[in-house]
């Protein structure tokens, strides 16, 4: 509301109080102001708009067009001349009885499982830690900084350290599990085979949970202290205060946080790429790396694009359903 007040009142005030250009005829001057006032916000948005168009929206449209073309390495130089194939690339992608479709479906399920587990752990660790650190105690500031280190580290530096720790012969993990605790009968392989899924999960949670911590921590600071004071006068214990005040107050924050974590995890490329290199093991074959391989290793951009479009459609549907469900839940909780 105050925005409209600002934009209607101030220019006239500025004209009246500005002694440096006195003689400008009132109505014309005002119309110039009007045009400038209407044009200005668009002018301010223009750079952001152009860049988003150039880097995100135009390529996305090109990507959708590409997904209908037979775009192999022969047509890379001039991709416009590649022949149309209609839904050919999509048919190949979702033909789950053929190798390409089967591998994509497998990768999809791996990604879904990985994402659900990772988001759950990140959210849980972040929330529990933020709640534990809500009130002041000695060393709180230090711990907060320490917990943010994994988030602050560049992905490749952090993940490459985990690669070292997961080495078969000279890694820390096998040394601890096998040599020191004698849990495993022989050193395990962590970056190939079935274990790679857990390795990926651990690394991703390690790197990702501080983000949840950061957001929840910020969300907690917006809860009025009076609520806790009133609750504790009413005799509510710590756990009850958390259940009745903290968690409900965090609902709007959580709605966005979980969605963002979900989208980032589902689309994550950096972690598996640095952890496994170009060839991800089957057990940890996340969809982004899978599509990357399908496109850049086999130079089949058409099929890769079709897979990307399918991925985007899936994420759109999930996001839509999620927003509808969580918003409705919130409204009924308010009533």
């Amino acid at each position: 509301m105050s925005a409209t007040v600002t934009s209607t009142v101030t220019p006239e005030a500025a004209v009246r109080k500005n002694p440096s250009d006195p003689a400008a005829p009132g109505p014309r001057r005002r119309r110039g102001e009007r045009i400038r006032r209407i044009g200005l916000p668009y002018l301010l948005l223009l750079p952001a708009l152009i860049l988003e168009l150039l880097v995100h929206l135009v390529p996305m449209v090109i990507g959708i067009v590409m997904s209908f073309k037979e775009l192999t390495q022969f047509y890379i130089r001039d991709w416009g001349t590649a022949p149309w194939t209609g839904f050919g690339n999509y048919k190949v992608s979702v033909d789950f009885s053929a190798p390409v479709g089967k591998a994509l479906l497998h990768s999809f399920f791996v990604t879904v499982g990985f994402t659900l587990l990772s988001v759950a752990f990140c959210w849980l660790l972040g929330t529990v830690t933020a709640i534990y650190m809500q009130d002041n105690f000695r060393g709180r500031g230090f711990l907060r900084a320490l917990f943010l280190i994994p988030y602050a580290l560049p992905v490749y530096a952090a993940v490459i350290t985990w690669v070292f720790m997961f080495q078969h012969d000279n890694g820390l993990v096998n040394h601890v599990l096998h040599d020191q605790l004698h849990i495993t009968s022989k050193p395990s392989f962590w970056l190939i085979g079935d274990n790679s899924f857990y390795a990926l999960l651990i690394v991703h949670v390690w790197k990702g949970w501080p983000f949840a911590f950061l957001i929840v921590m910020a969300g907690l600071q917006n809860i009025p202290k009076e609520l806790y004071e009133a609750a504790s006068i009413d005799g509510a214990g710590m756990l009850q205060q958390i259940r009745r005040i903290t968690l409900p107050s965090l609902r709007p924050v959580n709605q966005v946080l979980v969605l963002v974590l979900f989208l980032w995890t589902f689309n994550d490329f950096n972690t598996p790429y640095v952890l496994f290199g170009r060839a991800a093991p089957e057990a940890a074959d996340l969809i982004s790396v899978h599509i990357y391989q399908a496109s850049f290793v086999t130079w089949n951009f058409g099929t890769g694009s079709a897979m990307s479009v399918l991925l985007l459609l899936f994420l759109l549907v999930v996001t839509g359903v999620y927003l509808v469900l969580t918003s409705r839940g919130r409204r009924s909780a308010d009533v």
């Binding site: 490749y156 070292f164 000279n170 950061l214 910020a218 985007l312």
Partner: protein, 289 residues
């Protein structure tokens, strides 16, 4: 029980809570710190320590890896490339985000909602979806106009600044909203134009939010791997790709890899830890509200 809870202020939690907190936070600190310790200690080990069985303590301390990292791969060049790209992307991203957020925060105009929703929804796009088209787009723009975007730092700067833009705009809108409008009205009355009001009044009042956004933008650019692996060549390679050079050689110099990882991490981690207060304050005032 009830009498004790009556006298307890909300700031003095029960002992059981304090003990569970101690145990939980200690375990978590261990989980967080082990890789950091491995990075630090291994970077000071002689090569024999990192090729044989893992050792918690080095057999002898050496700073040799910190000297060798610069000659094993052209680390200084990668470092410069990353620095140029990240600083440029951060500066551009912050300036553009300040203008856009100011427009959304202070003006009513047609298409405002469409703009914010569109910009935010680009966060949802899988990077892989526009990696291939962007790659082709840059190549074609290069062929048509002679502006080298593919393989150049400029192309990478352009790409990275759009990565941090949506979050930056979103956070700054919230932050600008919390700056009282009376302030820019007063500036307008004093004869500043709208831009003067933005630069002299709103921006100084929103410095914590702007710092937070800059930190985020820098971290995004400094840590990106996917586009760096496709869009750079030998001359413009950034750290994200360059660091893999240590392990494609015949021997894997883990002590050097750890030393190099530490060296490339120190600027961002130090900067982040120094400025994290602003980030939390910025999130509290802006994004999370």
């Amino acid at each position: 029980m009830s009498s004790s809870s009556l006298s307890r202020s909300p700031m003095a939690p029960p002992r059981s809570f304090i003990w569970s907190r101690r145990i939980f936070l200690t375990l978590l600190a261990g989980f967080v710190l082990v890789p950091v310790y491995v990075m630090l200690s291994s970077s000071l080990k002689p090569l024999s320590d990192v090729t044989g069985k893992f050792r918690w303590l080095p057999s002898g301390l050496t700073i040799r890896p910190y000297i060798d990292i610069w000659s094993t791969v052209p680390l200084a060049k990668y470092f410069m490339n990353s620095l140029i790209v990240s600083v440029a992307a951060t500066l551009c991203s912050v300036v553009i985000a300040v203008f856009a957020a100011y427009a959304v925060s202070r003006y009513e105009f047609r298409g405002k909602r469409v703009f914010t929703v569109t910009v935010l929804s680009t966060q949802m796009f899988p990077g892989i979806l526009f990696l291939l088209p962007l790659f082709l787009l840059y190549v074609n723009i290069g062929n048509a106009t002679g502006i080298a975007l593919f393989g150049s730092r400029g192309g990478l700067i352009l790409t990275y600044l759009t990565f941090s833009l949506p979050f930056s705009i979103w956070m700054l809108i919230g932050y600008f909203d919390s700056v009282p409008r009376d302030l820019d009205e007063a500036a307008l009355v004093d004869g500043c134009g709208p831009l003067g009001a933005l630069l002299r009044v709103v921006v100084p009042a929103a410095i914590p939010g702007i710092v937070a956004v800059a930190v985020y933008a820098f971290m995004t650019a400094w840590g990106e791997v996917l586009f760096a692996s496709v869009m750079t060549n030998d001359a413009t390679r950034t750290l994200a790709v360059g660091l893999q050079g240590y392990s494609t050689l015949n021997d894997v110099y883990w002590n050097q890899i750890m030393a190099a990882s530490l060296v490339v991490s120190v600027p961002v981690v130090a900067g982040f830890l120094l400025l994290q207060r602003y980030l939390v304050a910025g999130l509290t005032a802006g994004a999370v509200k």
